[in-house]
């Protein structure tokens, strides 16, 4: 049974069918089979958070999920969120606030920050810090990232009222 298995899933709104080995994790599947390289692979054991994607609307570590477990699921990567414009304001805020240097952690930071903003329209800095606590950044430090998320939350609140 260490032979390839058929999986069918939805990735960024498109139906995908593939034959994959059970040992292939979702992050490698997205990167190497679908060339969706915005999902980054850092530690491969769930610590750094760089591989964060959405599965059925919820953020998960794609290095801790097998591609075969994603059979029947709906997966969204940073490419999907970016192309749809869902995180355009968050991306702009990251640029304005210099919340990235090398950019390795950025796709997952955006993914996690957007997850928070969907659940809490107006988080305080401590809530932002806690929600992002599973995502490592090795260049800018975290103040600028938290500033960018806070700014985006305020702008979205302003647009709503």
């Amino acid at each position: 049974m260490t032979v390839p298995m058929l999986i069918c899933l939805d990735v960024n709104g498109e139906d995908v069918e593939a034959q994959v080995l059970p040992r292939l994790n979702l992050a490698d599947f997205l990167r190497e089979h679908l060339q969706l390289t915005g999902t980054h692979v850092g530690c491969e054991h769930g610590v750094c958070g760089a591989c964060t994607v959405r599965v059925n609307g919820e953020i998960v570590r794609s290095c801790l999920m097998l591609a075969v477990q994603a059979h029947g699921a709906s997966v969204q990567t940073i490419e999907g969120l970016s192309d749809s414009g869902e995180v355009a304001d968050l991306q702009a805020a990251f640029r304005d606030r210099n919340a990235l240097q090398c950019g390795f952690c950025t796709p997952a930071m955006l993914m996690t920050a957007q997850d928070l903003l969907k659940q809490h329209a107006e988080p305080d800095r401590e809530q932002i810090r806690q929600h992002l606590s599973g995502n490592y950044c090795r260049c800018t430090g975290y103040q600028a990232i938290i500033d960018a998320v806070e700014t985006t939350a305020r702008q979205r609140m302003g647009r709503r009222s």
């Binding site: 049974m1 994790n25 075969v68």
Partner: protein, 293 residues
């Protein structure tokens, strides 16, 4: 690193999962949320020949109150525990503890059963099971076994669960009117494994403990229900009584040294946790003597 090659079977029912486990014994590993198993496999700490994925077994999911018992299915995820009004009403200790388990992306997949079966001595939920007087329900082909949480955890990553059995549910007595709870842990970063932690559940009569369960974690090879708690029950908790209990706690704990903390630091932190816990449970604003707060 990447996991080594393995075969994969998606269990279609509990019966089917048990058939696979009986056929493959300890060469098989059960996959639920995978948030502990996958790191161990990616690091090549373990290389199972067969993965039995129970993730689709809806019968193992869910939270229900039946009589005076709260039943939680093994596949109930951390995020489901955190959001459950039943858990908040009947086992608020769990609601508080779950916020300390890793990070949102991990809580979206990690399961209660997976955490308990993995039995990391530094993790929060096994200690909560001890504090809450939980019964762990496991199923094998011969039928069900019901194991008291105190007997379930037997060492580092070791439990009373056999390779042919599946952890299916947890049962908790409902919190009573005069019950109080306390949860605190020391960790280097929010969501990291604890350096020392305490999950406590008490019944308080006026200013006295009628019952007190102190479950310490990350201070031994398994979660530990402190015998020192007995010194605080049915007595007026004076600074001298608390100091006596604190000394007894330090005596009975046998923490491990690792890169995070020395044994003596962990023993010290356990005493700090006790000194914070007791006044909090008794509703006092000033911590009593017996240790730094």
């Amino acid at each position: 690193m990447k996991a080594s090659a393995f075969a994969y079977a998606r269990a279609t029912s509990v019966v089917n999962a048990l058939e696979l486990l009986v056929a493959h014994g300890d060469k098989a590993k059960v996959l639920s949320g995978g948030q502990s198993l996958m790191p161990a496999m990616n690091l090549r700490l373990i290389s199972p020949e067969l993965i039995v994925d129970i993730g689709e077994l809806a019968e193992l999911r869910g939270i229900a109150v039946r009589g005076d018992v709260l039943i939680i299915g093994a596949l109930t995820r951390h995020v489901d525990l955190a959001r459950s009004p039943e858990i908040a009403a009947h086992a608020p200790l769990l609601t508080e503890a779950i916020a300390h388990v890793a990070h949102p992306a991990i809580r979206n997949r990690g399961t209660l059963g997976g955490s308990l079966a993995h039995a990391d001595p530094a993790s929060e939920l096994p200690a909560c099971m001890l504090a809450l007087h939980a019964t762990i329900v496991v199923r094998g082909q011969a039928g069900e076994r019901r194991i008291a949480a105190e007997d379930f955890f037997t060492g580092i990553y070791e439990t009373a669960l056999s390779a042919q059995e599946l952890l299916v549910a947890v049962e908790l007595p409902l919190a009573q009117k005069r019950s109080a709870h306390f949860f605190c842990e020391f960790a280097r970063r929010h969501g990291d494994y604890a350096i020392a932690g305490l999950a406590a559940q008490a019944t308080v009569e006026g200013d006295v403990f009628a019952d007190l369960r102190l479950a310490f974690f990350a201070v031994g090879d398994r979660p530990i229900l402190a015998r020192a708690a007995k010194k605080l029950v049915n007595v007026a908790v004076t600074p001298a009584v608390l100091s006596d209990a604190s000394a007894a706690l330090a005596e009975e704990l046998d923490p491990l040294d690792d890169q995070q903390a020395s044994a003596s630091m962990r023993r010290h932190l356990a005493k700090v946790l006790l000194a914070r816990c007791v006044p909090a449970l008794l509703g006092r604003t000033q911590p009593g003597a017996g240790g730094p707060a």
